[in-house]
């Protein structure tokens, strides 16, 4: 017995315990859902079977996950021995494409090809479900993620209430198109295209109003305050029946007409978007490209450099004349703008909007896209958003046994944690962030560190 406990204390033993524990958690996560009376239904045997708590270790699934644990242990041990070799080999293999990508013509061809793929895509994917998913869940979430990336990635501020700006954009659209219980401004009912400037102004004002007092606060306080702000916007949307329609959504109790579609009436050109998702897809694609270009330019402008400076060392940044508060508020407002756009598109496309679309969970969802893709990396965030949203929509569409839609947030939570622990720079890291993280590990720099005994 003592021999056993001693061998568990060795590094190999610890790896074994961790592997088994990890796989036990994965078994729980992927198992069937339990209930109060059958709380451990998850890990127990086949799906139909419901056994009491003592059946915890019975059944074939547990055996399977034990095998997985053994595999994990093996891979881990191998990685510890060969990891550095593998990593250097991988970076060697990547140098040629990286060098090529540094050349401007190669890059331009690559971007053109990407846009071409984006244009052809709806003709390849013809399923109605996936076409509307591409607009509502992918393109819109790419827009949202790009916006949050300005806040979290560029300025290094954690905003947990980002969904509030999305909601304000959507409700503003419903308002100016005359589709809320409250009358439209000046009684004029506008086309959603004209809602865009109104929504942008409103979300930016909201961002400035929220940001100016709160952005002086420490990072974690800011996170809580923004979280509360997101909650409050939802509470108001849910309860102000006379203005927002409350929980009945933009239609309200009396059943107001829906939000009109986008339309163009320019001289001889008349075009009206319809329920067909494809035209909406193209419209959103244009918005996405617009924001990608604008934010890339911003990143490499003096505004982007100032954000980096503040993120890395606020005291030094201030000593060279940068006003941190001003730049943080700006990041808030700019990030909010793209959420406002996303809100307009969602409102126009879904015709009716409901408070349930704008919950805290959506904020966390957007955060997961940014973190997984790579904070501060526009390409990473866009790709991350596409990957995660596609996966979550796939799970929703064809759920594997035991999967419930609400389980998504369990996976997203785990993803946030795992990314932070194992790859904080994300899927496609931004160059600056990667450097910052490696430097921090080496003990360089003055980023907000935790428990280093370094106080002002």
């Amino acid at each position: 017995m003592r021999r056993l406990t001693e061998s568990l204390r060795t590094p190999t033993g610890r790896r074994a315990i961790t592997s088994i524990a990890t796989m036990a958690v994965v078994a729980l996560m992927t198992g069937p859902s339990g209930s109060a009376t059958e709380p451990t239904a998850g890990p127990v045997g086949s799906y139909g079977e419901r056994v009491s708590i003592f059946g915890l270790f019975a059944g074939p699934r547990w055996f399977l996950f034990l095998i997985f644990a053994a595999i994990m242990w093996g891979v881990w041990t191998l990685w510890l021995q060969r990891g550095t070799q593998l990593r250097s080999a991988a970076s060697m293999a990547l140098t040629v494409p990286k060098r090529g990508f540094a050349l401007k013509p190669v890059r331009l061809v690559f971007y053109a090809a990407l846009i071409a793929v984006g244009v052809v895509f709806p003709h390849v994917v013809t399923s109605q479900y996936w076409q509307s998913v591409m607009v509502e869940q992918i393109a819109v979430f790419v827009l949202l993620a790009l916006g949050l990336n300005v806040v979290v990635g560029f300025a290094g501020l954690l905003d947990l209430g980002f969904v509030a700006f999305y909601a304000i954009g959507a409700y503003a659209t419903a308002w100016v198109t005359g589709s809320l219980p409250t009358p439209a401004p000046f009684g004029v009912h506008l086309n959603p295209f004209f809602a865009i400037p109104v929504a942008i102004v409103l979300v930016m004002v909201a961002g400035i109003l929220l940001g100016t007092p709160t952005l002086r606060l420490r990072g974690d306080y800011l996170a809580i305050v923004t979280l509360g702000f997101g909650e409050i916007i939802t509470i108001f949307a849910n309860n102000l029946y006379g203005i927002t329609g409350g929980s009945y959504g933009s239609g309200g109790v009396t059943g107001k007409h829906g939000i009109p579609h986008f339309s163009i009436n320019l001289g001889p050109i008349h075009y009206r978007w319809t329920l067909n998702p494809v035209p909406y897809y193209y419209l959103t694609l244009v918005f996405v490209i617009m924001f990608i270009v604008a934010f890339s330019l911003l990143e490499h402008s003096r505004v982007g450099r100032a954000w980096t400076a503040i993120r890395e060392d606020e005291v030094a940044a201030e000593s060279v004349g940068i006003n941190p508060l001003k730049y943080k508020v700006m990041a808030f407002a700019i990030g909010a703008a793209s959420a406002g756009f996303a809100g307009v598109v969602t409102a126009a496309q879904t015709i009716f909007i409901f408070p349930a679309t704008f919950t805290l969970q959506v904020s966390i969802n957007i955060l997961a896209l940014v973190i997984f893709g790579g904070m501060g990396s526009i390409a990473g965030v866009a790709v991350g958003a596409m990957v995660i949203q596609t996966a979550s929509m796939y799970l929703l569409h064809t759920p594997p046994a035991g999967y419930q839609p609400a389980d998504l947030y369990m996976y997203l939570g785990a993803l946030l944690m795992v990314t932070m622990i194992f790859r904080p720079m994300g899927l496609i890291p931004s160059r600056r962030r990667r450097r910052e993280i490696t430097l921090a590990e080496a003990g360089e720099g003055h980023m907000n560190e935790v428990l280093t005994g370094e106080n002002p």
Binding site: L298, R302, A309, D313, V320, G321
Partner: protein
């Protein structure tokens, strides 16, 4: 311009500090400090560890907010700025640049970017310009680039422009920090122990550079330094701080002969608590 007497006969002051007291909780970090700095001089503040030198710097640059006294910065055009209560970026905009004790670079950025941030920080914010890349923005960018290159040349870092700043040697980091400070177009540059961690050769070069900054750019220099050889060769006038109070002022020769200073350095230094 060097070797003036006490503050009573100041002709062209750049910093006037009067009766400044700074406390942290119960700890008095600066105690009724008064001093004046003249435009164009190289002034040094010395004193044992914990004497309040860095606290003085932080008060002069708006990082700390002393509870009592006044600090006035006098601009070239005669405009007076009361520093206490102003944010650090406002003080920087008025013409005060500084370096830090343990040099604080934007470590993930290149040397070039570090200096450029200084060069462009006093322009407006220009988000729209940045996103649209108009001709105005491009011209501003070109100007900042030119100024950055000039300054890197000036401090002798032109070869290392594209190096990540954290990969630079200690001496080069100090130079880079000076260039970054100069990029903000200051009238006075505050150097917090610029020679710490550098070797004798780097020290000599640094002294030359500091003199060059004053002579060629007309920027006044306020210096905190521990290396007495460097201070005595560089500074034209010195203040000595001990336990947060000014105990002596004068030319290097006068300071060297002052018994109170000798006492401060040999006597009670060990009991001083680090407040900087």
């Amino acid at each position: 311009m060097s070797g003036h007497g006490t503050g009573a006969t100041v002709r062209d002051a750049i910093f006037v500090v009067e009766h400044v007291t700074l406390r942290f909780g119960g700890v008095v970090s600066l105690n009724d400090v008064s001093l004046t700095m003249e435009r164009g001089e190289i002034l040094a503040v010395i004193g044992p560890n914990g004497a309040g030198k860095t606290s003085l710097f932080n008060s002069l640059t708006g990082v700390y907010r002393p509870q009592e006294g006044t600090i006035t910065f006098v601009g070239r055009d005669g405009a007076r700025l009361s520093v206490i209560g102003k944010k650090a970026h406002r003080v920087s905009a008025a013409g005060v640049a500084r370096t830090f004790q343990a040099s604080r670079m934007f470590s993930a950025l290149t040397a070039f970017e570090n200096v450029k941030i200084g060069a462009e920080s006093h322009r407006g914010i220009g988000v729209a310009g940045a996103m649209l890349r108009g001709p105005m923005t491009r011209r501003d960018e070109r100007q900042s680039d030119r100024r950055t290159v000039e300054l890197l040349h000036f401090v002798g870092l032109q070869e290392r422009a594209n190096a990540i700043s954290s990969s630079l040697s200690y001496g080069d980091r100090r130079r880079l920090e000076i260039a970054r400070g100069l990029a903000t177009n200051p009238q006075v540059l505050l150097l917090d122990e610029p020679a710490a961690g550098t070797n004798p050769t780097e020290k000599r070069e640094l002294a030359t550079l500091i003199r060059k900054v004053r002579d060629e750019m007309g920027v006044s220099i306020l210096l905190i330094e521990h290396d007495m050889k460097l201070v005595m060769s560089l500074a034209e006038r010195l203040y000595v701080l001990n336990f947060g109070s000014v105990i002596a002022e004068g030319s290097p020769e006068e300071i060297r002969a002052n018994p109170a200073v000798i006492d401060a350095y040999l006597g009670t230094t060990n009991t001083a608590s680090e407040a900087s």
